[in-house]
Symmetry: C2
Subunit: 299 residues, 2 copies
């Protein structure tokens, strides 16, 4: 049985979502939703698929991957869930997540479908591993160190600042879960660097961290989508101290995000109606394959 | 609200289970079940708790931690589930797990309770992380490297060999998921070393790995319960190769196992009747605390 999946938004994540869907045995791509403006310039890899301005034009869809900026997720999710279609997003505004869940949960239930929110690597799989580390050693500290790598969320936020033609926001780990941000900006004609730098530093994405803004001629030549995480916990199991846990990954960032979204789409199809974060779904539901075979192999 | 928990079996894991229960805010220890023979020698840390020969003597119990050898788990689990009490075990005979699940599932359902099996670090949390690694990069290889450290399962198996007075089985990582076993044995009077060594090497726990058996005068002086895991996956997300993941822990082994059993007891109380492995329960259910607060903090 193959489920019908649609990709909504065809930017950085959308392109990798196409590859992840094509590589998955249990999904078939129903089509891609793009802004009307992009419809006449169809890239070659989409020639064999319907490309539409709205998901309603794609026929039956079981689940939609919302590959749109975080800030646009709530509206797309509400609309698509209201049509009875499951959604998966990689909403990454950490503090707003529970609010989004509470907003989408009744919509999903009413329309008998499932929304999996914040399905990426952080929030997402990192959150799952943070949770596992915490129940293995309930007292102690976890530090999540990101990078060095390009932060897609921060890059989108920097690009949205007036006067910025193109930008690259790098996350630099400073140890113990503290980070610096390095933002490389290409200015629009006539834009004043100091004002742009101040606006970036005042943005909610940047104001919590030490941020350095650097003007460059061509941002494009700096871009590499490799990223990493190093998460550490030192804590107490029962009354035994000095229990040590460490998780590390070095990955192509959008490829991993897209792959996790496809896994979350699969998991969503196995849940009862409602809105879920990745922490609220059993690990086995994300995996393709026969259940007993998976248990025999993984357990 | 505090749940009433019992510890069944008071060996290595049982002692650490006592500490993990005492450290948990949501459980109260109802008592400890020991073999009748041990009932007149009550260790000081158990003075304040009921110690009984059977769980039926402990009054109302919500969940029992089966801190008994793997081979004894099926019988204890069937009996206690039949009394309508949840169980948690750390059954570690990998190939037999699905069979145990199928055996206990109908018993748990019939008596309206929950059994969480193989709740330890491997199988257990390692299985969860293997699953997460696999859905992040569905094609590729995972290697789980254990040790150096004392394997409790292998040590129990070695001690059960005729002629062995005391034993310590160490797991030595040889890379790429291959291991050697080093077994230090103290012989019983008159036992012949060569026969003992052959019997150990022929045991199902040992015959799959290169095993060295070494005679020693006092096993006791060699024992340190530190252990470790280093799990690596290199795989493909969508069509992007060379995605790298690594998980490492260095811990006191029985303390971690006992802590995970307590977390699994909590998680079991949140599931519908049936038998579960750790892969089949959402991460959040293992954690103590208010759900929205957990999501805000971990996601």
């Amino acid at each position: 049985m193959q489920y019908r999946i649609a990709i909504v938004g065809y930017g950085n994540i959308g392109r990798f979502a196409l590859e992840a869907v094509e590589a998955a045995d249990d999904f078939v791509l129903t089509g891609v939703v793009r802004r009307t403006a992009s419809l006449d310039r169809i890239p070659p890899e989409l020639q064999d698929y319907p490309v539409a301005g709205s998901i309603n034009e794609l026929g039956k869809v079981d689940v939609a991957l919302l590959c749109v900026p975080s800030r646009a997720v709530p509206e797309y999710a509400r609309e698509i869930l209201s049509a009875g279609v499951n959604t998966v997003d990689s909403y990454d505004i950490h503090g707003e997540l529970v609010r989004l869940k509470k907003e989408l949960d009744p919509v999903a239930r009413e329309h008998n479908c499932v929304s999996v929110i914040s399905a990426g690597w952080d929030p997402g799989t990192d959150s799952m591993i943070r949770g596992i580390f915490e129940f293995m050693a309930p007292h102690g500290l976890t530090h999540t160190n990101f990078g060095p790598g390009m932060s897609m969320g921060h890059t989108v936020a920097a690009k949205a600042i007036p006067g910025v033609k193109n930008a690259l926001a790098m996350t630099i780990p400073a140890g113990a879960g503290v980070h610096r941000r390095m933002v490389y900006v290409e200015l629009e004609q006539g834009a004043e660097f100091d004002r742009v730098a101040e606006a970036i530093k005042a943005d909610p994405y940047f104001r919590v961290d030490a941020t350095t803004v650097i003007p460059v001629h061509r941002v494009e030549r700096l871009i590499d989508t490799g990223h990493g995480v190093m998460m550490e916990r030192k804590g107490v199991s029962g009354k035994t101290h000095n229990q040590r846990f460490r998780y590390e990954m070095r990955v192509n960032n959008p490829a991993l995000t897209a792959q996790i979204m496809v896994a979350a789409a699969r998991a969503g199809l196995r849940q009862k109606p409602g809105c879920y974060t990745m922490l609220e779904i059993p690990v086995i539901d994300y995996l393709y394959g026969e259940r007993d075979e998976l248990l025999n192999r993984l357990v």
